[in-house]
């Protein structure tokens, strides 16, 4: 890494990402099974078998450079586990994640992965839990700079931290404060400044605004979009809030019980959703313009992932399900500009 800290914040002087074409992130058949069995002796006495939760099952997608892909789903849909596997915090049970061609979970590529680390960052949901309460905010933001050895001498680190704090809308003087002296929105700004400190290309955001009030959420979402434009960032954006996702993403993947059921460009997904679950989710969002309108109430709840339904996981709640849906799991197939995993769509029934 060359260049002074002052010019780093300028996009035109930013070290160009790899010139290789193609998507930045490629996820192939990614799956993760968690063992939730009771302890061995208890199993023996009660005569119960092992239990496994399939948190994520054979998920594949790509994220282009400078693109935002959002994953939406309700609790238990596996979106956070997926995000953690993409950055390498959780090891997959099957499949692989390639970021700029480097396999994230292949032991043979450890050296390449170490060089890649700096270019990947993550922003978590709860800024109370993700910032060390005993560190001043300037030390929190400086940690990636020091860890990756981006700037060697101390005064230069301080200058760089000041720049980063200003970049996220804080005052450089705030660097002396501890996390508890900030509001939730300001804390999330610090988390974003820390993520930007290593000059990443790819940021995974796991529910970054779910813990914030709406007016603060608007500030953070605007900031994240500005930073994307300025630094050419690629985002994987995890959220349960469809309206937030619509505001942030270029493409959206909808997850249900660990599987991707639909993935489509933003306009198509919101304009003409294909999968019955996507339609149900969109129908369930209380929207401001719906004042006074009577809606179809949604049936049922997301099932227990320990005992997922056979066939299509959504069939017990689906108004279009038939015998085939109960027996055979649909795979993702092209439908319009996106991909949908649904027999009814494939057969042209809906």
């Amino acid at each position: 890494m060359t260049g002074t800290p002052q010019v780093r914040a300028d996009p035109s002087d930013r070290t160009q990402p790899s010139v290789r074409a193609g998507p930045l992130v490629r996820v192939e058949n990614l799956g993760r099974v968690f063992d939730v069995s009771r302890p061995w002796l208890e199993r023996l006495i009660a005569g119960v078998p092992r239990h496994a939760v399939v948190a994520v099952a054979s998920v594949s997608f790509e994220i282009g450079r400078r693109e935002t892909l959002a994953l939406v789903g309700e609790s238990g849909s596996g979106k956070s586990t997926l995000a953690r596997m993409v950055v390498g915090l959780v090891a997959p049970s099957s499949g692989e994640v390639f970021i700029d061609g480097v396999a994230m979970h292949d032991p043979a590529q450890r050296a390449a992965r170490r060089r890649l680390r700096r270019r990947i960052q993550m922003v978590f949901q709860d800024p109370h839990a993700s910032l060390n309460p005993r560190w001043r905010s300037r030390d929190i933001v400086a940690e990636p700079i020091r860890a990756f050895g981006l700037v060697r001498d101390r005064p230069q680190v301080a200058v760089r931290v000041g720049e980063l704090l200003r970049l996220v809308g804080l005052d450089p003087a705030d660097g002396a404060k501890y996390p508890h002296e900030f509001s939730g929105g300001q804390r999330q700004r610090i988390a974003i400044a820390r993520a930007l400190a290593s000059e990443p290309e790819f940021i995974v955001c796991d529910e970054p605004t779910s813990a914030l009030d709406v007016s603060v959420q608007a500030q953070i979402l605007n900031l994240m979009r500005d930073l994307q434009d300025r630094f050419g960032l690629t985002y994987l954006f995890i959220s349960h809030n469809l309206a937030v996702v619509r505001h942030m993403a270029h493409r959206i993947g909808v997850m249900y019980l660990g599987r991707l059921v639909e993935i489509a460009p933003r306009g198509a997904l919101f304009g003409s959703p294909r999968h019955p679950y996507t339609r149900m989710l969109l129908d369930a969002v209380p929207d401001l313009d719906m004042t006074g309108r009577v809606r179809r109430p949604v049936e049922g709840e997301i099932p227990n992932p320990v005992h997922p339904p056979r066939g299509c996981s959504f069939h017990p709640r689906c108004p279009h399900s038939n015998a085939r849906c109960a027996a055979e799991r649909p795979g993702l197939a092209p439908a319009g500009p996106g991909l949908v995993a649904c027999h009814a769509v494939e057969e042209g029934r809906i």
Binding site: E74, S75, S183, G184, G185, Q186, D213, V214, S215, V216, Q217, A218, Q219, L221, N222, R225, H240, N241, L242, A243, V244, R246, H247, F270, M280, L281, L282, D283, A284, V285, P286, D287, L288, D289, M290, T291, G292, R295, P297, V298, G300, E301, I302
Partner: protein, 329 residues
């Protein structure tokens, strides 16, 4: 015009601390009619939950009601002795909290909890008591209520638990239900079911519901009228359609604009600069003036009162004929 079921007049709630007295609520007034759903919206720290707690008499000491009055069906309930208030709580006012697990005892079958609540407030006993409990579970949409009544809370999903809590709140056929963030812990599809259920209960049983939430979407969906709170005061109150589609107060405008929409093509969300003031540093004059794009001289000097404006009421000098000085930018 009938008399309101709940009438809150000039309510003030204070929390004395070593350094200063914090004014959590400052001159809050509103009414709720029987069968009406009033939405209380605002961001963290605005005073929504304190308002609910004050009505039901559950303000934690040293916090106290420092002024104003609360009338339930014309009768003052804010100055009642603890025992009299306890009889009203649960019988005439039901309460639903955000996390259903904290409202249910994990060691008792939900049927026991429901029957205990019904027995406390009615004369039903034995088989009639159980029939009533089963009927309540059926009413809130629990499938197979005669079997589920013998289950423990952990055997229910989040949405089903919240239905049980609603059944508990309705057990004594209250006139008023205070629901504090009842759908916040739930997934969207389940949230929609609970909203629909609450609307139906308000309509069928003529129950007045005070719906406290930070989610404007929930209010737009469920409420008849909405009150927007900021820094311990109501800044705007009116029919939900008017407040949502044509907010008058600059804070309410900013709040609506900052919500990402499912249709609209706004490229950037409206941003309100800064954050809600903390209770020990509420600005003088209008508490919103440091963040307000339309603030002018009276805003800094004097606090505007809630005055009728169009179909609702607004506390803003922009809409007040009695603004102290000349209008100007």
């Amino acid at each position: 015009m009938t008399a309101p079921l709940l009438s809150v007049r000039h309510l003030r709630v204070e929390f004395p601390t070593r350094r200063a007295t914090l004014h959590a609520l400052d001159d809050v007034s509103f009414d709720i009619m029987a069968g009406e759903v009033l939405g209380m919206v605002g961001e963290s720290g605005a005073g929504k939950s304190v308002t609910g707690a004050a009505i039901i008499g559950l303000i934690d000491p040293p916090g106290r009601i420092a002024g104003g009055e609360i009338l339930l069906d014309g009768q003052r309930i804010d100055n009642l002795p603890a025992e009299a208030l306890r009889r009203i709580r649960g019988k005439r006012i039901g309460m639903v909290f955000q996390d259903p697990l904290t409202s249910l005892d994990p060691l008792y079958r939900i049927g026991d909890q429901l029957q205990e609540t019904i027995a406390t407030h009615t004369d039903l006993r034995g088989a009639a008591l159980r029939r009533r409990a089963v009927a309540l579970l059926a009413e809130v949409g629990i499938p197979a209520p005669d079997i589920r009544i013998d289950n423990f809370p952990h055997q229910f999903s989040g949405g089903m638990r919240q239905r049980v809590v609603l059944a508990l709140a309705l057990a004594a056929e209250p006139e008023l239900v205070i629901a504090d963030e009842p759908t916040t812990a739930l997934d969207v599809s389940v949230q929609a079911q609970i909203i629909a259920l609450m609307k139906r209960l308000a309509r069928d049983h003529r129950v007045a519901i005070m719906l406290i939430t930070h989610d404007m979407g929930v209010v737009a969906e469920a409420a008849d009228r909405v009150a927007v709170m900021y820094a311990g005061r109501i800044v705007e109150i009116g029919p939900v359609r008017d407040v949502v589609h044509a907010p008058q107060h600059p804070y309410a405008k900013g709040l609506m604009g900052s919500i990402p929409k499912l249709d609209g093509d706004a490229d950037r969300l409206v941003q309100i600069p800064g954050a809600m003031p903390r209770l020990h540093a509420i600005p003088s004059g209008c508490a919103f003036h440091p963040r307000c794009p339309s603030a002018f001289s009276p805003c800094l000097a004097r606090r505007p009162d809630l005055r009728p404006h169009g179909p609702g009421s607004v506390a803003c000098w922009l809409h007040d004929e009695a603004a102290p000085t000349e209008r100007g930018p």
